[in-house]
């Protein structure tokens, strides 16, 4: 057999450091989103629009807005996160980078975590930054606005992480967007409750550190479990394509 004399390529043993792979994914996602500005602004504009529907649709009275403002802002933030989640894996799925992500030599859950972090940086953080402006518009007082921003700061990463599971489950499906909301909204309820509850407690003059600690616990739980679930879901979804 002539194959005996042929050279044989030996398998490669060394792999690039994990940090390098994680940073590369975050950089790629951030660059891609920053160049696709529309995708970045749409959820934010949506956030502002939803909030402005309440004074128009219910009542512009200061007492109503002051009482419901936290809830309105939180619900709007939640919906606008849902809106942006559909893109989390779908673009990657369409252009084939998701396949390459699954075939990377690094553990998939860490790469998913990197993607969820990048998602939070471009969607969650702007929401937190925009919240004070809208807080003023719904007549929240300064202290409440501060606490509200804190809860959003701890809560929005949970939304990105938990949402990544739904995005991973629906990535290959045509009915993706609406289905994603159906799957994820029930899972968002605890974050919503504690997010708004913390601000309510602050308004009543109660100390909020305990409630924030609970939200921190939710974040820790989401950080440890959600990437595994998303990674498993991605493998299933890509198997089906």
């Amino acid at each position: 057999m002539p194959t005996d004399k042929r050279p044989v390529m030996t398998p490669v043993q060394n792999t690039a450091p994990l940090a390098q792979a994680v940073i590369a994914i975050m950089r790629r996602d951030l660059k891609a989103s920053l160049r696709q500005r529309q995708d970045l602004f749409n959820p934010l504009v949506f956030f502002v629009m939803v909030v402005s529907l309440f004074p128009l649709g219910v009542s512009p009275e200061v007492s109503f807005l002051r009482q419901s403002g936290t809830g309105i802002l939180w619900v709007a933030a939640l919906l606008s996160t849902l809106l942006s989640l559909d893109h989390l894996f779908r673009h990657d799925y369409d252009d084939g980078t998701l396949e390459q992500l699954l075939l990377a030599p690094q553990p998939l859950f860490l790469l998913v975590l990197a993607k969820a972090t990048a998602h939070w940086l471009v969607t969650g953080v702007p929401l937190v930054l925009l919240a004070p402006v809208l807080g003023v518009m719904v007549h929240l007082d300064g202290n409440s606005i501060g606490v509200l921003c804190l809860t959003l700061l701890v809560g929005t990463p949970v939304l990105s992480l938990v949402g990544s599971i739904g995005a991973a489950l629906t990535v290959g499906l045509r009915s993706g967007g609406v289905l994603l909301s159906l799957l994820i909204i029930p899972l968002y309820i605890p974050v919503l409750i504690f997010g708004t509850g913390t601000v309510t407690a602050a308004e009543a003059g109660a100390p909020v550190s305990g409630y924030l600690a609970i939200m921190g616990a939710l974040l820790a739980l989401a950080l440890t479990l959600a990437p595994f679930a998303s990674a498993a879901a991605l493998r299933i979804s890509l198997s089906n394509s």
């Binding site: 057999m1 002539p2 194959t3 005996d4 042929r6 050279p7 044989v8 390529m9 030996t10 398998p11 490669v12 043993q13 060394n14 792999t15 690039a16 390098q20 792979a21 940073i23 590369a24 994914i25 950089r27 790629r28 660059k31 891609a32 160049r35 696709q36 673009h91 369409d94 252009d95 084939g96 980078t97 396949e99 390459q100 699954l102 075939l103 990377a104 030599p105 690094q106 790469l111 493998r235 890509l238 198997s239």
Partner: protein, 212 residues
Amino acid sequence: MSEPLLQAVNLSCERDDRLLFRNLDISIVPGTLTRVEGPNGSGKTTLLRILAGLHDACQGDILWNGQLRDRQRESFTRNLLYIGHRAGVKAQLTPLENLRALMAGRRLLSRDLLAAALDNAGLAGYHDAPCHSLSAGQQRRVSLARLLVSDEPLWILDEAFTALDREGVAGLERLLLQRVSQGGAVIATTHHPLAADGMRRIQLGKVNDHAD
């Protein structure tokens, strides 16, 4: 004979209630080009995805270096370069950024090396143009540029010739043959008439659908 790099033992796959193939045995040896053939819908892409580890709902074992592949996923993925139907190229990024992102999890390459690969892939002058401004053939070339800097011994290429011009096709053909002569293993599907010395063929689409 050298040891097989990748083996599939008794592989069967059914999708959407249709049997694609049954009891398939495949052995991929270094220094060979294997062409998967069959009509549309015969499961060529599915087979390549199964071999690459993207599709796992089938019966049978897949061995990497003689051991179960799924137990050594890291070593396997590090040594596999898979290019599918979808190029794996982000439209908002430039070819250089895309290539760097695709290589980042594998090994560190200098900017000059990456740029040289893009030049050789026929993208000289386009390094810093966003990929959405490139043609389909050029986007395909961005992903194929990975082949030029690849140290992975196993290539799995699904319809890699799609969208390439005549010159690109000839270049890719040369590249595949050169790789094989260096001891790499290539598995490919293509509608393009590809032929090489000692090329192996896997014929799909010949199972009759009578499960018992």
